[in-house]
Amino acid sequence: MNKIKFTIDGKECFAEPGQTIMEAAKANGVYIPALCRYEGLKPAGSCRVCTVRVGRGHMAACTQPVAEGMVVENIVPDLEDMRKSLIEMLFVEGNHLCPTCQKSGNCELQALAYRYQMLVPRFPYQFPVRQVEPVGPHLLLEQNRCIQCLRCVRGVKTTDGKAVFGSVKRSGKKKIAFDRDLAAGLSADAAKKAMDQCPVGALLKKEIGFMVPIGKRKFDQKPIGSEFEDKRS
C-alpha cells in the first residue's frame, strides 16, 4: 500500500491512508498536545488543544486526515501560546481548585498547565455556580471541574452499549447530564473506567480519592507527552 508522505515541523513522516494527523504523528513518534482525545474513542475535536497549522489554515489534528505533501506546523511559539491560552480559559471557566481535587497529579488539564508553565491565567476567573451530582452508586459528577471534552459521552456505555452521558443546553449553559436509570446499573469496574477516561476530576469513583501519595502520581515527575519525546531523542 502506498504510504502518504508529509512533514511535521520539518520532520519527514509517513501515514497510512485515512489516518488523522494525530494518529500519524503518534506513529511517527511526534507529540501533539491534546485533551479531549482518548485512545479508542472516536475523536470529537471539541477542545482544540491539538490545533496545528497546515499552510495558512488551522485544524484539529485529531479529526483532520493526512493528505500527501502536507506541511504541518506543531511545536511553534504562536501555536504553543494559543494552546496555553486554551488551557487558561478552561481553568478560569470552571472552579479548578487543584489542592482539593482527588485527580490532582493525575489530571491531564493540570499536566498541560504544568507543561506550559501556567503560573496564572491571563483571563479573569469566572467562579461559576455549579453542582456536584451522584451518578449511580459508585460515581460522582463534579460539574465544577467539567471541561466538556465529551469523553464520557463517547466512552461510558452500559453493558448493552447504551450511552450513559449526554450533553444538554448550548453555549455557556452547556453541561454534561446522564440517564439516572442507566447510571444506576453501572458496576464498580465501569465506574473506575469512567473515572480513568475523564481527563479532569469531574467523574470520580467514590472511596478511592487520594489513594496514590504525592510524588508517585502520573504527572508528578514527568511532563505529559514526555513518553513520546523520550523515544524520539
Binding site: N95, L97, C98, P99, T100, C101, S104, G105, Q110, A113, Y114, Q117, L119, V120, P124, Y125, F127, P128, V129, R130, I214, D220, Q221, K222, P223
Partner: protein, 179 residues
C-alpha cells in the same frame, strides 16, 4: 552595599505558605545573610519602616482589611509576589464565591448549631467581608506568581534568590505544582 529588603503578609490564607518559607530549613541562615526583613509576621514588624524591594503575599482578598494591606504593600514594595493558590486564584476561601455573602454569614452565625449568641458580628472595628474572595492581581498589579498549596520551599528559595540576585527565573518541571 545594603541588603535587599523583604516584607511578607498573609491575607485570606492559612499561613501555610509562610510555613513553607520556614521550610527552607538551614538555608534560612543564608537568607538572613542575603536579605533584611521588614513588615512581616515572621519578625512581628507591624508597619513599614522603610521602602521594600520584595513583598511576598499569601492568601486572596476576602475583606476590606485584606485590600488595605495589599494596597499598602503595593505602595511600599518595588516587586509584589503572589505566593500560593489562594493569592493566585482565591483558593479554598474562594469556595464561597458561588454563595451570596448574606447566606454565608447566616449559615455561620445564625444557623450554626454550636453558636450561642445568634447574631451576625457587626462591630465597626471588624473589617467588612467582600462579596467574594478575589485573586490579588484583580486588586493591584502583581509582578510574579508562585503556584502551589503551598509552593514548595525549593520553589520559594529559587524564586527569592533569583529575584534579589537579579537573575532570570529558571523554574524546572518539579518546582511548579498546584497542590
Amino acid at each position: 552595599m545594603t541588603k535587599p529588603i523583604i516584607a511578607t503578609a498573609s491575607l485570606a490564607g492559612c499561613f501555610g505558605c509562610h510555613m513553607s518559607v520556614l521550610d527552607i530549613d538551614a538555608k534560612i541562615l543564608q537568607l538572613i545573610e542575603l536579605v533584611e526583613f521588614n513588615k512581616s509576621p515572621i519578625d512581628d514588624i507591624k508597619t513599614f519602616t522603610k521602602p521594600c524591594d520584595v513583598g511576598l503575599i499569601e492568601g486572596g482578598c476576602g475583606n476590606s482589611e485584606n485590600v488595605e494591606v495589599l494596597r499598602d504593600f503595593r505602595k511600599n514594595c518595588k516587586a509584589l509576589v503572589a505566593v500560593g493558590e489562594c493569592a493566585i486564584m482565591g483558593g479554598l476561601p474562594a469556595m464561597r464565591n458561588g454563595i451570596p455573602i448574606q447566606e454565608c454569614l447566616e449559615e455561620a452565625y445564625l444557623r450554626c448549631p454550636t453558636v450561642d449568641d445568634k447574631i451576625i458580628p457587626n462591630d465597626e472595628e471588624l473589617p467588612i467581608s467582600l462579596d467574594k474572595v478575589y485573586p490579588l492581581h484583580e486588586i493591584v498589579k502583581i509582578d510574579y506568581f508562585l503556584p502551589g498549596c503551598p509552593p514548595s520551599a525549593d520553589l520559594i528559595w529559587e524564586a527569592l534568590t533569583a529575584l534579589v540576585g537579579g537573575k532570570p527565573l529558571g523554574l524546572t518541571y518539579n518546582l511548579i505544582k498546584f497542590d
